[in-house]
Amino acid sequence: MQAEEDTLEKDTYEVELEIKNSEGLHMRPAMMFVDAANRFESEINVSNGDTNVNGKSIMQISMLAATCGTKLKVTARGPDAREAVAALQKLVEEKHFDEPKPKKK
């Protein structure tokens, strides 16, 4: 894994998340995901195994077309990587995107 080489300089955290809401990562959840990701300084990458995309781009995230049950690997790299990964994990696996949408940045 590329990111690991940089671990010495920057913190890299990684987590595997399963999409659990029935509608999958469609538009509104995708928006919540990128809004959450954009609140962190760290670089955030999301991979479904085939494709690796920028977690802050709604176009790229929604094009992953993650349906219910899809597993996504989220990698954050940067000063607040740990918090970013935790926040995204919470959004996807605990809240299932059902919270009211986050305040616009």
């Binding site: 469609h26 538009m27 509104r28 928006m31 920028n54 781009s57 949408k101």
Partner: protein, 579 residues
């Protein structure tokens, strides 16, 4: 150099740079730009994103949170896309690498994303393609909207090249700089055609795929006399056309001199030359060109210009403006003639399988009485201001005429009750434009004040030919013996009943048909304003005696080709410069 053949709809020659107006309703054709134009196109993309974001933010904040959370969500998602740098980069990269226009890059990138979604099995996700198309349209609307504004603030002469032009678009044209019109779609009676004729701009339509062969800024020659468009002509062709254009301008200039002279034949028969108009502003042009009134005021523009149905006041104001220009001269207002056109059909819940034989024109009005009465009320109200006449289109039998007249009578009674003044003796006439009306003219004549022969529809219905269909359009000719027999029949019946009679179809604006029409007994002609001087010139060059001879000769012929050749030769002998 690319030469394309279409239908000539408005005469004249022009050579200018092209300005292309794409439409967000159609696929945007791929058009190349020069390397130096890339920055400009990229800036256009940035501006379009910025403006689309502003527009969406306004829309979003206008939504009531409590009631329309879902809609607000949709706007919010679209906004995220518009803010997405990687999306913007994908578009500007395409402009950089492939040297294409902003419109093409936006459309290509977003459609690619949309098709990615559409191919996903999960329906929640595949339906998101609709969101992407929506974003595409919003961006294109910004890009094209700016282009359309450009058309209203031109600084140099251009030829407008478009897929199709709507009445609203053409209404905003700056006459000083728009030197020609060329469109992929359209026919002789399409809006682009009618507007071009009334403004006196050369135009060619039905060019099919011209917008794919032309890039903005290409030099384009519009030959509105022969229906030819030349893209990027070579030096020799340009020179040839400059000469041709000069000759044409000289002819026009000579015609200028006769504008204020009467339309009288050499042996002293007076002919009434009227104008056909579409928009109220054209009334002035008819007057300028020497028209003695309006023989056909089409009223469809009132319905085509706006999303909602026009109010009685909208009708009234449009008519008042025209009547005011002509004061004591006749203004014949034709009631709504919509139905078979693309516009109405696209608005129908289920399109008609055969619209030209369907619910169009007077039939449509008789089934939509509230709408019909609104228009009749407005016409009656302006009737006190001048010499206004009412004309019903597409009458096919007496019953229809009686129904229409009964409704007119109802409206009169309503006005009486409200003590609103109108001309009680307003003249009521009909268009003779179906074979059934032509064959029963003797009976229809009892119940009207005048006939006007609409040769376009009469020819189409008699010969069963759609002239905008290029596969059969060569069969379309008002000089066909079948059509001429019907016309003669109408003229005879009108004369017997001592009825006013005119011809308002395109046939009357073609110089080669004038001698025949006069010889058959026509004394009133209504045509598009740019043709008035030329037709007047023809009238002033002939004698009725000669016209009668031509008509007799033609009625004895049995083939369209023989008749057309004979008429062209006869006209060429008398007015060689018109051919």
């Amino acid at each position: 150099m690319e030469i394309k053949k279409g239908i000539a709809v408005s005469p004249g020659i022009s050579i200018a740079e092209s300005l292309i107006i794409d439409s967000e309703d159609y696929r945007i054709p791929r058009r190349s730009i020069s390397p130096s134009q890339r920055m400009l196109e990229i800036q256009r993309v940035r501006n379009a994103f910025g403006d689309a974001i502003n527009e969406l933010t306004r829309l979003e904040s206008a939504q009531d949170q409590a009631e329309s959370g879902k809609i607000k969500d949709i706007f919010a998602v679209h906004l995220r896309f518009l803010h997405d740098r990687s999306l913007r980069k994908k578009i500007t990269d395409l402009i950089q690498s492939d040297m294409v226009t902003a419109e093409y890059a936006v459309s290509t990138v977003l459609r690619e994303i949309a098709s990615h979604f559409a191919n996903v099995q999960d329906s929640y996700i595949s339906e998101r393609a609709a969101d992407i198309y929506d974003i595409e349209r919003r961006l294109l609307k910004q890009l094209l909207g700016k282009k359309r504004e450009d058309v209203e603030h031109l600084k140099k002469e251009v030829v407008i090249v478009a897929r199709e032009l709507s009445p609203t678009q053409t209404a905003g044209f700056d006459r000083k700089y728009v030197k020609g019109i060329a469109s992929d779609a359209g026919g002789r009676t399409s809006h682009a055609a009618i507007v071009a004729r009334s403004l006196g701009i050369p135009a060619v339509v039905a060019l099919e795929d011209l917008t794919e062969y032309t890039s903005g800024g290409d030099t384009v020659i519009v030959d509105g006399n022969r229906g030819i468009i030349i893209v990027n002509p070579d030096e020799q062709t340009i020179r040839q056309y400059e000469d041709y254009s000069k000759e044409f301008a000289e002819l026009e200039h000579r015609l200028d001199a006769i504008r204020q002279k009467p339309a009288v034949t050499r042996d002293g028969t007076e002919i009434t030359l009227l104008g056909n108009i579409e928009f109220p502003d054209e009334a002035e042009i008819v007057l300028e060109r020497g028209g003695a009134g309006i023989g056909l005021y089409r009223t469809e523009f009132l319905y085509l210009n706006t999303e909602s149905e026009p109010t009685e006041q909208d009708h009234y104001e449009a008519y008042e403006k025209t009547v005011h220009v002509f004061e004591d001269k006749p203004v014949v207002i034709r009631t709504l003639d919509l139905g078979a056109d693309k516009y109405t059909q696209s608005k129908r819940f289920v399109p008609e399988p055969n619209p030209f034989l369907g619910l169009r024109s007077i039939r449509f009005c008789l089934q939509n009485l509230t709408m019909f009465k609104k228009q009749l009320r407005a016409i009656l109200r302006v009737s006190v201001l001048g010499q206004v006449k009412i004309m019903f289109p597409l009458i096919t039998n007496r019953q229809e005429l009686m129904q229409a007249k009964m409704i007119l009578h109802d409206v009169m009674e309503d006005l009486d009750e409200e003590s609103i003044p109108y001309n009680r003796d307003i003249q009521v006439g009909i268009m003779i434009e179906t074979p059934s009306a032509a064959l029963t003219a003797y009976s229809l004549a009892h119940d009207v004040d005048f006939f006007s022969i609409g040769t376009n529809d009469l020819t189409q219905y008699t010969l069963a030919v759609d002239r905008s269909n290029e596969l059969v359009s060569t069969l379309y000719s008002p000089a066909d013996p079948a059509v001429l027999r019907l016309i003669r029949n109408v003229i005879q019946d009108a004369h017997k009943a001592r009825l006013d009679l005119s011809v308002c179809g395109e046939m009357a604006s073609e110089p080669e048909h004038i001698m025949l029409l006069l010889g058959l007994g026509i004394r009133t002609i209504s045509i598009a304003s740019p043709m008035i001087p030329e037709i007047k010139q023809v009238i002033r060059s002939v004698t009725i005696e000669n016209c009668n001879k031509v008509a007799r000769k033609v009625l004895g012929m049995d083939s369209e080709r023989q008749i057309s050749t004979y008429l062209r030769n006869a006209a060429r002998e008398i007015i060689p410069e018109a051919f």
